[in-house]
């Protein structure tokens, strides 16, 4: 794991390799992610969460809004190499998925009070930050 940090007023990006959550169950994965988000850091995760984990993340996020001062939710976007390709690309993507699991993707998650918007399209993710 590598992370860039100076003082609390600066933007901190937490780079998280898939190995950091690989052996965790869904609850611990979500707990770990939200723990970092509540420290006002942006996470760049190697890989992706499962769909049911994404909904669990949304549920837990909603439960925190109103209970954690200043917390307004999260912005999240995920991009993977096999999206919207042709049939061959899809087959290739599925084979890679079997071999390396959910690693063949990248997910960006940030606190909504810091991240204004994450624009996503099949080829890129753009992170818009709020001006302080």
């Amino acid at each position: 794991m590598s992370s860039k940090k100076s003082d609390n007023k600066d933007l901190t990006i937490h780079f998280m390799p898939y190995s950091e959550i690989e052996k965790e169950n869904s609850s611990n994965r979500i707990k770990k992610i939200l723990g970092i988000i509540l420290q006002n850091k942006i996470i760049v995760l190697q890989g992706r969460l499962r769909y049911e984990e994404e909904t669990r993340l949304i549920e837990d996020t909603m439960a925190l809004i109103g209970n954690v001062p200043g917390f307004r939710g999260i912005e999240i976007a995920e991009i993977s190499s096999g999206e919207n390709g042709g049939l061959f690309d899809l087959m290739k993507h599925n084979i890679v998925k079997i071999l390396v699991g959910e690693r063949d993707a990248m997910t960006v998650i940030g606190p909504a009070n810091l991240v204004k918007e994450i624009k996503r399209n099949p080829k890129k993710i753009e992170l818009m930050l709020k001006r302080k």
Binding site: R50, T55, T61, I65, G73, E78, N121
Partner: protein
Amino acid sequence: MVIKIIRAFTKRIFNSIFSKKDQIKLGFYGPPNAGKTSLANKICQDWVGEDLGSVSKVPHETREIQFKEKVTIEKNGKKLELKLIDTPGIATKVDFEDFLKFGLKRKEAQARAKEATHGIIESIKWLDDMDAVVVVLDSSLNPYSQVNVTIVGNLVARKIPVLIVGNKIDLKKSDLKKLSEAFPEYAVVGISARTGDNMEEFYEALFKLVKKVK
């Protein structure tokens, strides 16, 4: 007595496996302000003559699950009995300050935000109870938002048949082609719940969707 009980039990098991559902539970899912309630209202107006819920330009107008039982749709001599389930829009953030821009007072905005967060949790909890789902998206917005992908992905993972509706085709910015490209594996129908454009095609797609219900 014992034979009667066994017979009733066998009948119940047999019916649950082989008989078709009397009423299909049709959910309306999507992000806030996509037009889920507007579409549910349009269907109710077309077949029952009354609305299901209120609509507003302020996001998160629907903050509780709303139902309309026994909505019967007829097309080409075929009948479909539905229980319409309108759900609060799913979002990853709820900021009460966003509601202030619509003229709400601070306390009202905070209360609305609190109800909205509860509504989102309810929507997610209800996913498992649906027989089929219409995912309503605003066709004038970027379809690649993670919430859209998460909703559709969850429904597919739960093996719930999905129909994607691109609402607001009456708007200049509407881009149905982009929406179809974002979800190439699913049927996408463009409509305007406000003007009623293309509702016939929607009803046809609805009959096809319901055929996939097990």
